[in-house]
Symmetry: C2
Subunit: 196 residues, 2 copies
Amino acid sequence: MANLKEFKREQILNQGIQLMMMHGYHGTGVKLLLDTVNVPKGSFYSYFESKENFTAEAITHYIEPFITRLQSYLNNSELDGLAAIKAYFDSLTQELENSDFKGGCLLGDLMGEIGGVSDVCRQALKAAINQYCTLLEQGLLSAQQQGIVRTDISPATMARLLFDAWQGALLHMKIEQSIIPLQRFSTELLDHYITN
Amino acid sequence: MANLKEFKREQILNQGIQLMMMHGYHGTGVKLLLDTVNVPKGSFYSYFESKENFTAEAITHYIEPFITRLQSYLNNSELDGLAAIKAYFDSLTQELENSDFKGGCLLGDLMGEIGGVSDVCRQALKAAINQYCTLLEQGLLSAQQQGIVRTDISPATMARLLFDAWQGALLHMKIEQSIIPLQRFSTELLDHYITN
DNA sequence: TGTATATAAGCGACCGGTCGTCTTTATTTT
DNA sequence: AAAATAAAGACGACCGGTCGCTTATATACA
């Protein structure tokens, strides 16, 4: 029974992520969200303390599969550090093209909408971004040691720069309804900028 | 009298921009917005067709001073193309630091929140971004001709890349409450990447 | 029967948008 | 020039609906 509740909880999180990527924080109503996963209105607050806290959890929940995914690319011994990172971003690009640019990135959307207002969510975003960038950093460090990536810039700096540029490219993608901004990111920054 | 109405109209737009940068599109109520500029509720729709159309106009209105500002830096004959661009972004950075990272960029915020949903706003965003990037392009072209900026990448590509990376850096700034992401943009991309 | 959980009904507040009234301005008639 | 009328614009009350959240009650389990 506890498992069933945990399952429902995750369903709410996943559905919330989908809706918020589409309509943002304020544009996503709790009632509507719960209806789509057949959870009674009044039950929401037995799962989560508030909408704000729910969103913070959604952020943490959202980033997990991306961490896992990037991790698995980095662990692939057939790929050097840079090739892994490139393959990872290319797979994201492919996926976004297949889904007609719906969504984008929850982190980017929420950073803009409530990043400056909700402290709870800001901390969640900060942690998620840091976790993600730290992983990128590891890949870049490997690539440096393999002699593929330039060593005059620290992996930490490069990782953050790449993250930011990717977020901007995702926003641009939404507006242009095109993967060109994503491809530009890959070509210019991964191919031309950070290589040795 | 027509001037007074035009003045009020602009007041609404400016106030709307401020509120939307803080709370996003859905988080900004028409009633509240009008109260702060002493315009009666019922009058809003004599100024604007709808909230959505208002927002599209706000986007266009928002970008104008940035265009003018960048333009004036580019027209400064004491600065080469690259130095102008760098000085422009540095002045923005300075300003954001002075205002404690409130705001950020309306374009970035709205791209994330409604860029994928509202066609009217998407077109306004598209136009604003294109106008902005075209200007950047001109500066980059000058800098190329002056032998300062690398010529193996087109100004159009570089301009879009810079724009996207800047947007991402602004989001990151909000979360970290720090100008470090903005400085990283300037150092890594303007100093190290695009120079010859 | 007693206790804990689940939930439907409902809270006040606010949403974007409309509508009928009232004021103001412009035009016409004396 | 003054008065009467018409057109235009300003405006607040109000529309149905939704917001995030609470609470009283029903249900389930001990």
